[in-house]
Structure formats: structure tokens, C-alpha cells
């Protein structure tokens, strides 16, 4: 329901953006040539994976500061929902996905302009309640019979990654729940309903007040790539490319790595 | 079993089965009346709409609490605010026939009647036997399995009566039991109801605004207006000597209040009627509309009570016409259609009215009757 609600919001945002860009229409600019900052204006609409919420908001502010006259609008949601919206014609400029599969759905439908670039990677950690009361040190601790563990469902990227990591470690684990996204898995830890959950390092870091993230070696076998692309039907291609360039720049990278992402 | 068998420790002779003083205050209305009903007696509470009849019935049933006064049935206080005595409806030994019967639509006629006995502790089988007996007495044996919506008005009325009687109530309450029926059914049902009420050993209170129901069904009439008893007595007394305009209209009499001195009764400031007998002091003068004769011109003959009048309304009344007249006194007169045609009666027409002194009935007015008749 939350997701449905969010997508509706995204839809409204998109509509609002259409209305706005209709007024300030700036379609005359030619596609940019790498260093795009001069001549960029209007609004950039970025559809980004929910796990990018904090870091992309910061990057957006930086980008607006560096390019006066540009406004960045975000729609944060699950990557698959965003991919569906884009393929159904949502007027977005940029798509940043938390998984290559969702990006593939967009590019396969012919909605990407050029090849997607992997801009960060994310890795799983074991999220446990603050202070690690059960003394969890690795995946095998989660297989104890009375341990309650939340995983993401296999259909979503964090679940797929968890499965890969568990398979790589040959650990058999029976979770009590397969959550619909990483934030939901994390909140089960926060609320104390489960003893541990496999989540992204970035998510654990964002929730550092309530949870600890325990690194485990097998996560190296399940690293998640985050690709980004300018969309073919982007209403403001120039600014879109400029934004992507900014994400890939050193300024952008440092924001992302400080949030717990790894450079590709 | 309780109420089925309890019912009657026969009250000592002279003690009424129901002794009630009902006081209920509402915004702009006060009910304040005293009721006494003996075992086997049927009392009709008769009055115009809004007189408080239904409120009185509801207090007896425990559906509306008293503000003051008391309800004592077979020696037990059911409601007495002074001492905080209160018996809830379901524990009162009563039976109620509601105006539109309120038969439970989801139950058959039989189960409607068995409902009360069942609640009073009989098992399903026994309760149905009792109910079946009552339906037989009502002549409804073939209709026992029908739902209320499949019953005619008269049948539903009898089922409702059977349902109320099936718990052997010490006090049977009937709220306008015939009002929902058409004229023809009413006639039959009234006769039958009279039979059943006469057979009921407990006290019976019948609330109605129909004088005919009251006269046929009741042993005694209590007439209420504005929440107060204005007259009570048997049918003969009330029809002969009405004490309010309402009662006079009910029994079809012209009624005036005045001050008698010998053979003259002074009515209002400047009108008097001559009467046959001698009377002194405050009196009522009553005479039937048929005693009023109408003339196009002032008659020369013997009648001493002659006054000019104007026609304000003409209605059919049985085989005759009832003429409403305005003048020094407002009266109704009955004339035959032939006479009416002869007189060419139309509204607004001036006439002369007369009434013979020997046709008038005169009886003293009690102080309490003041203000009830103009």
C-alpha cells in the first residue's frame, strides 16, 4: 500500500513537472558535450531507487547550487515500480536503478538514451539491534533455531543479493519473513520484531541510531550494481546529462561513499 | 414459569388490581393522571391526539419512567420514583397490544405467540402448545405457520392479542388496537375483541381516540385532555352528561356552561336559555342537535328559546345533515335533507334557531370543570 501510495505521488509529481516544463520549455538546447554546466536550465526529473533517497537529495542540492536556474525534482520509489512507470510513459529525465535487472527492463523497452553507467555498488551487511545483544558475528549465527531473521523477498534486489550471498556461503537459513523492500526489513529490526536482517550497508548506515551493521565476508559474492541512464524521452536532455555527469563526478562520488556506497 | 402462574393473588375486595398515579413532565407538556382498575375490569383511556394517552400506557409498560407518582400492580410497586422502586419492562406481569401490532416479521404466527411463554420459562414444546391453544381460541389454527406479512389486518390483530394474552398478564394494555383496520374488519374484530377482553381475568386498559371502541369495549371510560383526567364514569353517565366540549362532541351533544337561576340559565354576558326544571348555580346545559329547529324567519309560536344564527358549515351526518351555526351561542343542528332543500340552506345564510326547554338536560358543574367549556 505504501508503495502504491508512493507511486501515485510520483505520478502526480510527474504531472506537475509536465505542467511546469510546459511553461518554461527549453527544447532548443543541443545535447551536451560532457562538461555540461554552461547553458543548463529548466527542471530535471530524476527517478531514483529508494535506497538513494538521502544521498541523491544531497547531490541534487549541490547540483542546483552549481547550476543556478536548474531545479531537480526526485521521485524515489522501488526500482521496479519506477521502471514500470517509465515504460508506461512517465515523463522522467534520468533513471537511477538499484539493480541491473530493472534497468534492463527500461533499456530493453528502448527507453534509455545510450548505455547505462554503473555509478555505485552496494553490499549487504547483517543489521542487528543497536549494541548487537545476541553477539552476531557472521551468517552462521543466523541459523540458530530461535533466531528470527528477516530477509528481502527474492523478487526485490536486496533479496536476490541475500540469496546469492547465502548460496555462496552454503548457509541454509529460514527467515520468518520475506519483506517487500530493504527499508521494511530494516524496520523489523528497529522495532525489535526480528533479531537480524540482511540489508544494504547504506541502509544500515542511515539507521545507525537504532541498528548496527555487521560486515560478513560472503557479501563480496553478492555485490549490487547501481546503474544510471538518461532516458530517451527525457523532456530536458541537456540538464539530464549534466545531472548524470554530476553524479559521476568526484563531488557526487564523495557524497555516495560517505553514505556507505562503494565506488564501482 | 413465574409470571404464568404468579399472576393473581386475588386482591382483597375493593382494592383495585392496578393503582397508579402517573406523572411525566416534558417540555410544554405534563401528564398527571390517576388510574384505578379492578380485576376483570376494562377501562378505556379516551382522548384526542396528544392528550397523553400513549405516554400513560408506556409508563405502565415500563417503557417510559415516571417522574413522580407510582404504579402499583397486584400490590407491588412497579415504579415509584420516591422510593426508587423500578421494575423493568421484561419483569412486569403485563401484556401489550401495540397499535400496529409489531409482530416479529421473522417468526411465524405460532412462534410470535409462543415468544412470551418461552421467555417466561416454558420449553419450546410447551410454549408452542400454549401458543397453539391461543391461536385456536382466536380462530387462527390454519394460520399458525404463516409469517406476519402473509396475514390480513384482522388476523394480525388477533395474533397480537393472542401474543399479549399468552403470558396471562395481570395488566393487559391495548394501544389503539383497532385503528389500523378498515371499517368492515373493524366491526367484526371489535365484537371479537370485546369477547376476549370480557374473558380476561386481569385488569385491562384500552387506549383509544375512537368513542365507539371505548363505548363497546370498556366498562368504564377515563377521558383525558392535555394530560389530565377531565371526566370518568360508565358509558351511560358520560354520554348523558358530558362535561367538556371534547366529550360533548364525542357523544354528539350541544353543551353550554352557564349560571342557573330558576328556569333560566345565563350563558355568556347577554344570552339565556329557558330550562324545564329549576336549578341554581353553575350548570351544564346539554341537548342533541336534533332538538334544534331552524326557521327562515323568526317563528311566532311557543318556543321561548329563539335566537338568530348564521350557517358556518354543513356536513352529512347519517341520514341527515348537520348544520353548524354561529350566533350568541354556537350550536349544531340536525335537519333532514328534505327540510334542508326546503330551506335552501347554504353557508353564510342567516336563520332563526329554536330549542324547546323540555329538550334540554341540565346538571350541575363541579368547580373543577371550570375553564373547560367556554
Amino acid at each position: 500500500m505504501a508503495r502504491r501510495f508512493r507511486t501515485t505521488l510520483a505520478g502526480f509529481t510527474a504531472l506537475a513537472v509536465v505542467a511546469l516544463s510546459g511553461c518554461g520549455g527549453d527544447d532548443t538546447a543541443e545535447p551536451g558535450s560532457g562538461n555540461a554546466s554552461p547553458g543548463v536550465s529548466g527542471t530535471v526529473t530524476v527517478f531514483a531507487a529508494a535506497s538513494l533517497t538521502e544521498s541523491f537529495t544531497t547531490i541534487g542540492k549541490d547540483f542546483e547550487a552549481a547550476n543556478p536556474g536548474v531545479k531537480v525534482t526526485f521521485s524515489f520509489a522501488g526500482s521496479s515500480a519506477l521502471a514500470t512507470q517509465i515504460n508506461q510513459g512517465a515523463p522522467a529525465d534520468v533513471f537511477a536503478s538499484a539493480a541491473p535487472a530493472n534497468m534492463k527492463a527500461v533499456t530493453d523497452a528502448g527507453n534509455g538514451a545510450g548505455t547505462p553507467t554503473t555509478f555505485v555498488r552496494n553490499q549487504l551487511v547483517i543489521a542487528v539491534p543497536k549494541g548487537n545483544p545476541d553477539g552476531v558475528t557472521g551468517l552462521t549465527d543466523l541459523t540458530k533455531p530461535d533466531a528470527k531473521v528477516a530477509l528481502c523477498a527474492e523478487q526485490v534486489p536486496c533479496g536476490a543479493a541475500a540469496k546469492k550471498a547465502l548460496d555462496a556461503a552454503s548457509v541454509k537459513l529460514t527467515p520468518v519473513t520475506l519483506e517487500q523492500d530493504v527499508k521494511a526489513a530494516l524496520s523489523k529490526v528497529k522495532l525489535g520484531e526480528v533479531d537480524a536482517a540482511l540489508v544494504y550497508r547504506t541502509d544500515a548506515k542511515a539507521a545507525t541510531a537504532d541498528v548496527d551493521g555487521i560486515e560478513f565476508p560472503e557479501s563480496a559474492g553478492a555485490i549490487n550494481d547501481y546503474p544510471i541512464v538518461v532516458l530517451k524521452n527525457a523532456p530536458n536532455k541537456t540538464a539530464a546529462q549534466a545531472f548524470v555527469d554530476h553524479v559521476l563526478s568526484d563531488t557526487g562520488r564523495s557524497v555516495l561513499t560517505s553514505a556507505g556506497f562503494q565506488a564501482p | 414459569m413465574t409470571a404464568l402462574t404468579v399472576v393473581r393473588d386475588e386482591p382483597a375486595a375493593g382494592t383495585p388490581m392496578l393503582d397508579a398515579h402517573l406523572v411525566v413532565d416534558r417540555a410544554g407538556f405534563r401528564l398527571d393522571l390517576t388510574l384505578r382498575i379492578s380485576a376483570g375490569e376494562v377501562v378505556a383511556l379516551l382522548g384526542p391526539n396528544g392528550a397523553g394517552k400513549t405516554t400513560a400506557l408506556r409508563t405502565l409498560a415500563g417503557l417510559t419512567p415516571l417522574h413522580r407518582g407510582h404504579i402499583t400492580l397486584t400490590g407491588q410497586d412497579l415504579d415509584r420514583p420516591d422510593t426508587r422502586r423500578w421494575t423493568p419492562t421484561e419483569r412486569r406481569p403485563i401484556g401489550v397490544v401495540f397499535q400496529d401490532y409489531l409482530l416479529f416479521p421473522h417468526l411465524t404466527a405460532l412462534d410470535n405467540v409462543a415468544f412470551g411463554p418461552r421467555r417466561h420459562g416454558l420449553d419450546r414444546h410447551r410454549a408452542r402448545e400454549v401458543a397453539s391453544g391461543w391461536l385456536t381460541r382466536m380462530g387462527l389454527t390454519e394460520h399458525a405457520r404463516r409469517k406476519p406479512r402473509q396475514l390480513s389486518g384482522g388476523q394480525a390483530q388477533r395474533v397480537a392479542l393472542a401474543r399479549a394474552l399468552a403470558v396471562n398478564p395481570a395488566l393487559l394494555l391495548l394501544d389503539e388496537p383497532l385503528a389500523a383496520l378498515d371499517a368492515r374488519t373493524r366491526l367484526d374484530t371489535r365484537a371479537e375483541l370485546q369477547r376476549h377482553l370480557a374473558a380476561h381475568p386481569g385488569a385491562t386498559l384500552l387506549v383509544t381516540h375512537d368513542p365507539l371502541d371505548a363505548l363497546v369495549l370498556a366498562d368504564r371510560l377515563v377521558i383525558v385532555e392535555h394530560g389530565q383526567v377531565v371526566q370518568e364514569g360508565d358509558a351511560a353517565t358520560i354520554t348523558a352528561q358530558p362535561r367538556t366540549d371534547y366529550v360533548a362532541r364525542l357523544v354528539g351533544l350541544n353543551l353550554h356552561r352557564g349560571r342557573a337561576a330558576g328556569h333560566t340559565v345565563r350563558i355568556g354576558s347577554d344570552f339565556s336559555l329557558t330550562i324545564a326544571d329549576r336549578h341554581d348555580g353553575e350548570v351544564f346545559v346539554a341537548y342533541p342537535p336534533s332538538a334544534v329547529a331552524l326557521y327562515p324567519r323568526r317563528p311566532d309560536g311557543s318556543p321561548r328559546n329563539v335566537w338568530p344564527a348564521t350557517i358556518t358549515g354543513i356536513q352529512r351526518h347519517g341520514d341527515n345533515l348537520r348544520i353548524q351555526l354561529a350566533g350568541p351561542i354556537d350550536v349544531a343542528a340536525d335537519v333532514t335533507p328534505a327540510a334542508a332543500a326546503h330551506l335552501h340552506l347554504v353557508a353564510g345564510q342567516p336563520l332563526w334557531a329554536t330549542v324547546k326547554a323540555t329538550e334540554t338536560r341540565v346538571y350541575p358543574a363541579a368547580p373543577g370543570d371550570r375553564n373547560r367549556v367556554e
Binding site: T84, Q155 | Q315
Partner: protein
Amino acid sequence: MSLLDDAGAATRPEIGVSSHPRRRAGRVPLALLVPAALGLLFLVLPLVGLLVRTPWTTLPQRLTEPGVLTALGLSLQTATLATLLCLALGVPLAWLLARVEFPGRRLVRALVTVPLVLPPVVGGVALLLVFGRRGLLGEWLDASFGITLPFTTSGVVLAEAFVAMPFLIIAVEGALRGADTRYEEAAATLGASRWTTFTHVTLPLVAPGIAAGAVLCWARALGEFGATITFAGNFPGRTQTMPLAVYLALETDLEAAIVLSLILLVVSVAILASLRDRWITSP
């Protein structure tokens, strides 16, 4: 003719007879017909959208997938249990609201509708805060009786009941307020206590309203997603109901999601239609 100012009641009914039946049946005002048609379109078009995109050829194959039937069975089971729970608790509450004057009744009535206003996910979190492992009651339930509700089928029932109960209460309260209370008075004069009156008179009288409320309640429970996934989590065979399966299918496979939705839709409509026939044919 003016002699008789009262023409007599018998001659009057002709004038007062209500309109001809033909006129009543025809001529629906356009001002009602147009929005009604638009309303229907608005409700039906999304369904058409689903049908258009349905991959009919793979439908039988999807149905035989083991996870689908499990989720469907669990959905039907939990929605039914949730409805029973709502009936057991909601009908008495509706009765209280409709029949008993008590201070704060308006507030209680407003509180009852809270689950309607609350986003279901928030409802799920709220349930966790009460019945969860660290919850107000959950901790005590666990310690005293070893009962844990999150991540269990009971938890699904609880979450569905929480979200669906207002539908039942509002429908039943409406029916109770519409019912003629004089029947209850009549029952009292026949010696029925308030409880007997409730079970023998009130309930049968408002049975259609209760049935309508139960249907609404069941339908809402069947479609419940947010509170369920938040409170009971998602685990196939235990807490994964159809809406959860649909949602997760949506992540990877739009067509699968459509097929699952359609199955849920067809089954629920079939059940409701058969129940409805039953109620109408048996008096």
C-alpha cells in the same frame, strides 16, 4: 352543489392516487444518468485494462504453480477468519453505538473509523507496537502464554480484521439505527431480557445489514496488503496472501501480477455471487 362542503372521503382517492407506473419506470433524469455512467466507467475501466493485458495462454499454467494456490487458499482462509472475528467483536460494538447512550459515544464512533483513515502500513506498525515482540501487549502475551502474533497466520487475521472491522461496524450500526426499536420494546413486554431481545429479535431484524457488512468486511480483508505485510510479514504458506504475492510478482513480472490479481478477483466475485444467490433464494 356547494351545499355539501364535505364531499365525502369516499370520492377522494381518485385524485390522490400516485403516478402511473409507466412514468416511474421510464425517463431517468440525464443529470443522474450521466454521472452514474461515468462512475461505472471509472470503476470498470481499470478492470478492462487488466483484462486487455492478461496473457490468457499462460493462465492455466500459472494457476498450477504451487505458490499461487497456497496464497489463494491462505487468503480465503484468513479473510474468512478475520470476518468472523469482526462479527464477534464488531456486531456488539455496533449495537452499543446504536442503542446505548453513553458519554463519549461520538468520540468512540470517530475512533472506530480510525483504521479507515490510517494508511494500512501505519496500521501495521501500530499493531506491531501493541502485539509485537516488544509491544504493549505482545511482550506480556509472549511471556505469559508463549503467544507471538507477528509473522504468523494469526497475525494476518489480526491485521486484516483491524483494517476491515470499520466496514462491518458502520454497516451494522446503520442497519441497527434503521431498524424499528419498537420491536425490541415489544419483546421486552413479553418478558425478554435485553440479551434475549438482541439474539432473538434485533439480530434477525438486522440480518441483511449484517450480511452486507460481512461481505464488505470480507472483501476488504481479502484485498488487505499494507497492514498485513507490515505486521505479519511475508512468508509463503504462512503469511503470504494473494495481495502480497501480487505485489512481489509486480517487482519482476507484470504479467504474473496481472494473472494473480485476476485469479483473486474471479474467485472472490464467484464466492460473493453464490452467497448472494443463496441469501435471496432462501427466505
